[in-house]
Symmetry: D2
Subunit: 333 residues, 4 copies
């Protein structure tokens, strides 16, 4: 059994709480949030104690692992706190919006040598993962192109947008990581980035983007395209296509049911796809937790490392530089 | 070149006229219809002479083949006339609604030994045909089940309905023939039939059916299901499924475009399927003509014979008996 | 909380055990099986006591509900036992293979008035259920046809086959119930049945069927087709199509992933569909349990009643009579 | 009737010849090719005279229109010749590989004011066109993103590659034009380009690309992605996706049949898609001819103009500059 302290129980933290409670090898020992009513809500459906401070939860000897799902700018502090306490760490993406802080964090924790996993949940999606395994098994021959479509159903509120770190660091970071996942040991070396303001005046008012396209190039010459939007009226559009010398694999969108409708206005009509990440990646989040639990218990390396989190941020930063300078920008990982 | 006399140029005859005109090995030499304006319309887009009588067209020495697309109750007379004149014959389905007349016709023409092909166009559909070829190549192993869905977009007018011979002889006859096509040399031996009056009061008023289901059994025990309706609001529903020991093949519906629509109300939305037989089986009608032309020119046996037409009618008659008696009725082919 | 005694923990019983353990409002209090090692296996992943006899489990005052997943011929005894003990009952389908025993059971329990639900799990499948709800909301207008395709991936072993009650009572009974589910208060009045022996010599040797087709007719004239096979090499084929005056809805097959493969031999290639009922109806079994738990706790009527179980068996018996006599047989529900 | 002189009857010219012969309002009057056996082959299935020189064909008074399908570097000469003779012109893409020659051509012909249409056939594809019409009707709201996938089944031979003008000018030029088609009057203003050599050593040896990705930006901020390959083992991959504020439309790939295969290795298996442009765009080429014929006869403006051909080349040139400089390059149309 793994005793877990969970820090931060907003929308995503609450989902983690439920998964931890349901996992046969986990106890949710502590829950902490700066909003006490958030903690109380989780305490209702679990046996977790409500911690008065993150320290209380993290430093208790009974705790084996710390789950960090708090605001992004608190991640680094809690990672260091947990690592110093010798606890295994799971931290939501991104590690931080500031690469200097990420590098500082890395320096602090590397000697402590605790397992630390970053929350790139999409790597654990059954269909995306099947693409990766099939590619690794040679099913598409040599990888030549990757096309990732990733569009949110609707923009978040303006308060979140202001602290999000910008569209590329908040959203595309998932797709940068996914590109690295499929490329394996072939590093990304260059990137071009385009951003537009087409969806929302609010987003424009804070000078962020809501529509974006990217091309990444790997060392071996594999080309990767990513496109993002803050609003897709038909749901949370999540597609990955990998193309190679022997064929193509597509991980396409999913609908809650397998119902098809035929009427005077159309045929083959399916429901809107899953609305957002909680629904679409429900199983992926559970697989991710399970993977974390197993690697910690088996004392193996986490499958998504601190370095993966750091590299995704470096790519996002290079994307901003590419956008600002209008050049194909070198990525130094 | 094959010189063709075309008898009957209503909706389907006019389509045959266009196909004959476009075919590189055919001349449309004569056209005849009891409505002279129908003939005139065809003469406008072809070099065909308007015949004053069917005899004028059929008996002219220059004519090689006779295409019969007139009212069903005239088919037998024209077949006999053409056969006596030594002409190759193409005749629309059904040969006649009365099996006695069909048998009489057969007696009259068999010694004359002219090629005669019956218009079961669906056998020439590229997708249905691919199922047949794949089955013959062993792709699904032993055939065990056939499921045919065949639904018209909307009922014909009451005048046509009155002389149609009834739903089973007018519509299902195509599906009876298609079942025989897939079964090959394994004859149908029994049938059950259900008819309902759910679509139209007009159809009910003349005591015909508009909704029907059938099960046929072959000598080897293959089971075949057919379902029909006079009205499918989403278009002309034409599906065939064949199932066997090694897998299943489905010839599914077709839409004019390959466009898919995604919006707030649904995803994967395709257009309504092809509206009716002229559109859906456009290529099949051309393939059918081509097959007729080639077998006549090459002096080979027609691929769909008089006997095929006769057997489909025998099955339709057995279906009526099955419906009336509420029994699984023997089919003696 | 509902304290449950589970009788019978073979393949399906073990699945129920896991669902009960995972359900937040259930305790698995007792487990009983004639094979003690089966019980032990369940005890390992739950807190259930291993009962020495069904009576011990059923009669303990702490038990609120009895789950019956034992061999079919024991169902009636346990139902009566549980009902006499005043416990709510969930019983796997079929109630029994002998309608006399079912009727006897009914007489014994009706005055006891305990809630009893029969395990027609397919009614709880999200997609099938969506069809039912959409139909009830008028989305397809008047219901006119139902087409149910239900094919197992592979035949069970001969020992099971011998006591299965025959293909129609063992397999098709699910589809008979599903027809009734979609028809609502329009009763089935007639049935025709065809069975074949095409799949397995073993099945032939015990004179059972492995391939079957049915047509059912409702009082209002709705026609329903069912086709079954004991072997579909591409997986557990589970499709439902409902057709009406305003359109059609299809609940089509499901694959574990949303991956599509494109290579030199084909395009749009999906994985084989879910292999069998445990995988395909995983969510349906959980929904079924949840529905049972809620109706018992809320003291409401079960959604699938003893009478539903009895009627499905009456239809299966009528199907056998239809097959043996070669007639369209009246169904008296 | 339009009397047409056809210059150049290689693979694509021969296809044009057949379409012209079949068109009810066209005569194929002359055919010319530097290889006389090519002309002879066309003469066999048409009434066309074999011209001894392009001038003989172009200058004959009986000729109304000139179809140019000869080698790219001859296009400009024939356009000028035809324009001086006062003939309507249809010219295959690209006009020329050298923008200076194109500009020179334009200067020569503008005062002559003959109708001239450039062969961007994809604009006439029924499905792509449906996207354009639906977008213009507001079905997806404001256009925000375009994603074009365009991959050939296999590279051409090395002789062709050497004179092709490079991957971006030979292949992507179609997609540049298609982007402009969907953008309507919102001009492309910037482009980034990535090329790789992954498919063929032969292509590498002449320093051309076989794999490429592009991002284009319109004045209004619409983002457009194009990806290309010289080799897709599953056929000629032709997809267009347009995304906007109210939804998304996809013109997806097409297979010759509507057959789906289910077996132990996969489900929903379709045939490989159409192999190459002659098959995939068969109907588009006919629609294109028909459009040309109608606009010439009706004395209207061609739907795809010389200027469209010139602009596509300007974008291709900008793409090369973007690739070589590694910058997002301004497009001045």
């Amino acid at each position: 059994m793994l005793n877990i302290a969970l820090i931060g129980v907003g929308r995503i933290g609450k989902m983690h709480a439920r998964n931890i409670v349901d996992h046969p090898q986990c106890n949710l020992t502590y829950v902490y949030d700066i909003k006490e009513d958030f903690s109380s809500e989780v305490a209702k459906f679990s046996n977790a104690k409500i911690a008065k401070s993150p320290e209380e939860a993290i430093n208790d000897n009974v705790v084996d692992a710390v789950f960090i799902a708090s605001a992004t700018n608190t991640h680094v502090d809690y990672i260091i706190l947990a690592a110093k306490a010798g606890k295994a760490v799971f931290c939501e993406k991104p590690i931080d919006l500031d690469i200097e802080k990420v590098n500082y964090c890395y320096k602090q924790i590397k000697v402590l040598n605790v397992p630390i996993q970053i929350g790139f949940n999409r790597r654990f999606d059954y269909s995306h993962r099947k693409l990766k395994l099939s590619k690794d098994n040679g099913e598409i021959g040599n990888l030549e192109m990757i096309v990732i479509t990733s569009r949110d159903p609707a923009p978040p509120n303006i308060d979140y947008l202001k602290i999000s770190g910008g569209f590329f660091r908040d959203c595309t970071i998932h797709d940068f990581d996914l590109s690295r996942f499929f490329l394996g040991n072939d590093p990304i070396v260059a990137i071009s980035a385009y951003g537009s303001q087409l969806v929302s005046d609010e987003i424009k008012s804070i000078n962020d983007h809501d529509t974006a396209m990217f091309i990444l190039r790997s060392q071996k010459g594999v080309l990767c395209h990513i496109n993002n939007s803050r609003r897709a009226v038909y749901g949370y559009d999540q597609r990955v296509e990998i193309f190679g010398s022997k064929g193509m694999l597509i991980s396409t969108n999913q609908t809650p049911s397998s119902v098809e409708k035929y009427n005077a206005s159309g045929t083959n009509i399916k429901e809107p796809i899953y609305n957002f990440f909680i629904e679409r990646y429900d199983q992926a989040y559970k697989n991710q937790l399970n993977d974390f639990v197993n690697t910690v218990i088996d004392k193996q390396q986490p499958s998504v490392t601190f370095e993966d989190g750091r590299k995704a941020l470096i790519i996002a930063n290079a994307a901003y530089k590419a956008f600002e300078t209008g050049t194909s920008t070198k990525v130094i990982l």
